[in-house]
Amino acid sequence: MATISLIVAFIYVYSDWFDPVKDIATDISASFHWVSGLPGKAEDWADQRFMSRARLKQENDALRSELLVLKRKAQQMASLSAENVHLRQLLNSAHTLADKVLIAELIGVAPDPNIHKVIVNKGEFDGVYAGQALVDASGLMGQVVRVGKLSSEVLLLTDITHALPVQINRNGVRLIAEGVGSLYELVVRHVSNTEDIREGDLLVSSGLGRRFPAGYPVAEVVEVKVNPGKSFARVIARPKAQLNRSRHVLLVFDTPPGKE
């Protein structure tokens, strides 16, 4: 039996024979996650039902003022995007703004703290495809790796097996950001010691590698350590997305790879 398990493990890791079955497994797993999430849901429900009037009013006011601020930004955004389209036309480059999105809810998190995967409640029936990007309100979160019928599994940026192409928003330098297994850290690889990169720089997805849509904020550089004795500087960035907080997330419909 142990030998069979080993064979299964090796096939799982080194071949794609299990891929169709893995998608079904996603759904099975999601149902368990869903059940284990029920008490939390009940709490949310009770919280909404039994909220005091004063608190509701306070929350309403807060939301209203936030809406005002965001509306003002949206006004700017409209003129900026018009300008952007205009400039892009001048440059003869393809359009990149305006992706379609789908709102999804997180229903489960991988139980092992070393594996940074989450399960969301949208699947094949909603048009989700493998490789699709997941974002939250503040930045890129990860990519879909398995698609079940009604749920899908998302690999987060910070997983130890994940890396993505980014660029510095300030000057467009292209880099690779790798997950190291900590929710608050990405390591930027192969940054030469003379590279123009500073603490506080915003890293955005570059769209190279054709997985992620370009231009989504990924991380902010928090540490640049130049050691002249080594060939590369050590750069650590903090993901913009709230990887362990966001409950409502967005799946971005870019053009699926291979369909262009």
Partner: protein, 164 residues
């Protein structure tokens, strides 16, 4: 051999206990406390094999392990292999372990769950994941501490519903 008619209640009880174990395995915990999650499925395999070795064996353990891999999103075969090994060790040693005192058994359970963690870690390592020493040891300690409670509850249940 017990009467065949007792088979279904027994299997139902085993099944329910493992469904609960799977729920515990995916129960959302804050990242900080995730290491304190007990390996309930492993404990149950130890318990059921030790208490009814004529029914539970390595095949069941393998199936349970595989379903745990599916549900937890592990590399397939990680839990399957470790639970099979655990079941084997329990099968060859149950006569001795049964006669130990409960805390003595708990120490033995600590060793078994530790072994389970090591094997899981090794298979996970194939996919590039590594576990820290803390996440290897803490679940083993927690599971060992849970052992007396678990045996008490299951012993009562088995008495009440004649699950043999």
């Amino acid at each position: 051999m017990p009467a065949a008619s007792r088979l279904w209640p027994y299997l139902t009880a085993v099944l329910i206990s493992f469904v609960i174990a799977m729920l515990v395995a995916v129960w959302p915990l804050p990242a900080k406390f995730a290491v304190f999650r007990p390996e309930l499925a492993c404990l149950l395999v130890i318990y059921w094999v030790m208490s009814s070795p004529h029914r539970m064996g390595m095949r069941y353990a393998w199936l349970i392990g595989l379903s745990q891999d599916l549900i937890e999103g592990y590399v397939w075969g990680a839990h399957a292999m470790s639970l099979t090994i655990i079941a084997y060790i329990c099968l060859v040693s149950y006569q001795r372990i049964r006669s130990y005192s409960i805390w003595h058994q708990a120490i033995w359970v600590f060793v078994l769950v530790g072994l389970h963690q090591v094997v899981c870690n090794w298979v996970q390592g194939l996919a590039g994941y590594t576990m820290s020493l803390v996440s290897l040891l803490v679940p083993a300690v927690i599971s060992a501490l849970l052992w007396p409670l678990l045996t008490l509850i299951l012993w009562r249940l088995r008495r009440a519903y004649l699950l043999i």
